[in-house]
């Protein structure tokens, strides 16, 4: 009894410590924010200079206009440095500095995304375990959540090391730019550092406290820690996003780049919120993909059926979570692009219709691969449940629809051709295929792909179950008709776009997205309510899935990784020859846009390095795993037993 009370007290103390850590950066920031977050830039006057007598400083107060918010503010920093190509501003090794920075940045981002996403999964799964009334399932969810956090813990150390390498790379190769950026963000730099400390502390307490806090109130406290952990992680990411937001769409400074004393303006740039949403969803999809690949790796190397069953289940859960965030990701990307266009139309044109447009064709191909892999996995997964075979004969139609959508989605508007090819084709656009290379058709293509993926998910949910509700017949007919008209509406809007002016056409993507989301939310909800008390045709035989399906999971994760590298490159490249768009020019010898081939090779090298290093992390994870005795389990309806792997 005394021991339990002591544990509870310690748990409450730990939780309070975490909340304290969470609030620490805010408390520490109050003096800076209260004083307007003065940030003398690199080379600017020392703070003491401001402490002159009132009358004199009154005279020296200079006001300027914010480049974005158009408000007036007191100039509180030095202008952005005008760099010159030389060792002072751009010291270098005998190598392209930008490539080194690209590598350091990308690796840090990969690991950062992973360690931010996995604790969110962990929180969701642990919560499912806590609220589950089925004790066997609760235990399995708890084990799964533990498995997730175990992988992220090793990755967390690597993230921190890569963050250190990134800062040193900045300081060594781009000191003038980094000096300017850190001077602008000085009022919140220490918040970032403290948040990182808070994140580390919380993560370690959360992980090592798992066994000690596994029941009753203690378990709820443990779950609360995961909430705090994720709040800290999200704040951390938002702060990092504010830097790239500032680089793309600066605010809070005047046209010379002088800080105007309002740190919120600097953080809350035009692209900050779209970037935040896009990155959260992207990180979640990426994290789900990596964990699914881990599960696939463990499945393929499993020594017995029990292990295979456990990792098959883990792969399925991770994939489902990843895909749940993948589905809204294109819409978040669409919002980001819309905001980019709204901020600077030229920037949007460079991205989607100019210099970087071909990279978007590659991106479309990767998105198509992601959805094709997901569907392929789901169709393979139907094989592990009795009753799933009744859907097999329809898969060929799904393949047809998906391939049509995919081909339209990846069709480029114009082709890069030799003069002879240009003459033979009669222009830059193919007479037939050229019609598909416009946004109207592409939006139709991707929405058809996503709607089909939703349908695959619904069929997977029904794999081994038959609806038994009294209104099942109406439900089935309604679902079929709703999906049919959803496809009709998406394709109709895509065609309609060809007949109306561009300024009206641009709005059609919104009802198209709403149509797709309607199938996702309404039909999933309808399906779940129809499956209440459904007749079981047979159990899900976890582990009895084709090996090919696991390769599909690995493919999914690799495609996520590649696409993330690609999109990061596109987003960063759109600044062209600016460090900070229209404020600080990049005068290094590398202020040009790489060829598509070079960029693709660089992205592939980054992906390869990430996967080699994460395989090492996975391997480390297996070293600590001790096999716990397998308990006698009561059969769970619809689910085969999974083994418990010791903490």
């Amino acid at each position: 009894m005394g021991s339990i009370t002591r544990k509870k007290t310690l748990a409450v103390l730990a939780l309070s410590a975490m909340i304290g850590l969470l609030l620490l950066p805010v408390v520490a920031a109050i003096p800076a924010l209260a004083s307007g977050g003065e940030a003398p830039a690199a080379g600017g006057p020392p703070p003491d200079a401001a402490k002159k007598d009132g009358a004199e400083s009154e005279k020296k107060v200079e006001k300027a206009r914010d480049v974005y918010y158009k408000t007036e503010g007191i100039v509180s920093g030095a202008p952005a440095p005008k760099t010159t190509d030389g060792p002072k501003d751009y010291p270098r090794y005998n190598f392209e500095s930008r490539v080194l920075l690209w590598f350091a940045n990308q690796q840090h981002l990969y690991y950062g995304s992973f360690v931010l996403a996995v604790p969110i999964f962990c929180m969701v799964i642990e919560f499912m375990g806590v609220v589950s009334k089925d004790k066997a399932m609760a235990k399995k969810y708890d084990q799964l959540a533990y498995d997730f956090i175990k992988i992220s813990l090793t990755a967390y150390s690597l993230t921190a090391i890569l963050g250190g390498i990134l800062i040193f790379t900045f300081l060594t190769l781009y000191p003038a730019f980094f000096g300017y950026l850190s001077s602008i963000f000085r009022p919140v730099m220490h918040i970032y550092a403290l948040t990182f400390v808070a994140e580390s502390g919380t993560l370690y307490i959360y992980y090592y406290g798992w066994d000690k806090m596994k029941e009753g109130l203690l378990k709820w406290l443990h779950l609360s820690m995961s909430v705090i952990l994720n709040v800290i992680g999200t704040v951390l990411m938002f702060l990092a996003n504010s830097w790239i937001g500032f680089m793309m769409s600066p605010a809070g400074v005047d046209e010379q780049g002088r800080y105007l004393g309002n740190i919120w303006h600097v953080i809350h740039t035009a692209l900050w919120n779209p970037l935040n949403l896009h990155r959260i969803l992207g990180n979640m999809a990426f994290g789900g993909g990596v964990v699914a690949a881990y599960a696939a790796y463990r499945f393929l190397s499993a020594k017995n059926d029990e292990e295979r069953a456990h990792y098959d289940w883990m792969g399925y859960i991770a994939m489902s979570l990843g895909v749940a965030f993948l589905i809204p990701l294109p819409f978040a990307g669409y919002w980001l692009m819309r905001e980019v266009y709204a901020y600077r139309q030229q920037m949007g044109i460079t991205l989607m219709g100019g210099l970087l447009a071909w990279l978007f064709i590659i991106q479309a191909t990767m998105i198509g691969i992601l959805f094709l892999s997901t569907n392929y996995y789901l169709w393979q997964a139907l094989g592990r449940m009795r009753g799933g075979e009744r859907f097999q004969r329809y898969i060929k139609y799904f393949v047809f629809i998906l391939v049509c959508g995919f081909l339209v989605f990846i069709t480029p508007h114009t082709m890069v051709m030799t003069p002879a090819e240009l003459k033979a084709m009669g222009g830059q656009q193919h007479p037939v295929l050229g019609n598909y290379g416009v946004m109207s058709a592409k939006n139709g293509g991707i929405n058809v792909i996503i709607t089909t993926t939703v349908l695959s998910f619904i069929w997977y949910q029904r794999g081994n179950r038959m609806p038994a509700v009294s209104w099942a017949k109406f439900g089935n007919i309604f679902m079929g008709v709703f999906f049919f008209f959803a496809y009709v509406n998406i394709i109709w809007l895509a065609i309609y776009g060809y007949f109306i002016p561009a300024n009206v056409r641009v709005g059609l993507s919104v009802p198209q997205v709403a149509t797709t989301l309607s199938t996702l939310f309404f039909m999933t909800a309808l399906n779940l309510s129809m499956l209440k008390g459904a007749k079981q045709i047979g159990p899900i035989e976890w582990g009895k899935i084709s090996v090919r399906s696991q390769y599909a999971l690995i493919m999914l994760a690799t495609a996520f990784t590649w696409m993330m590298g690609l999109m990061g490159y596109i987003r960063s490249s759109v600044r062209l020859f600016w460090h900070v768009n229209e404020i600080m020019r990049d005068n290094s010898p590398w202020a040009y846009t790489h060829t598509v081939g070079f960029a693709a090779n660089m992205i592939s090298a980054n992906v390869l390095f990430f996967w080699i290093s994460i395989m090492f992390v996975f391997w480390l994870g297996t070293l600590g795993a001790k096999k716990a005795p397998v308990e006698v389990k009561s059969p769970v309806p619809g689910r085969a037993p999974e083994p418990a792997v010791g903490h």
Partner: protein, 40 residues
């Protein structure tokens, strides 16, 4: 059979009405005219 036809008709009416409303109102919210081509 009669019931099936009724279910299909009801489903078609609901689906067509729903998607038309989605198209109309979501364009309207953006200050755009969904019926542009038909009014022209």
């Amino acid at each position: 059979m009669g019931k099936t036809i009724m279910y299909v008709v009801v489903s078609v009416v609901i689906s067509v009405a729903y998607f038309t409303l989605v198209d109309h109102f979501l364009m309207d919210m953006q200050g755009l005219d969904y019926w542009y081509l038909f009014r022209k």
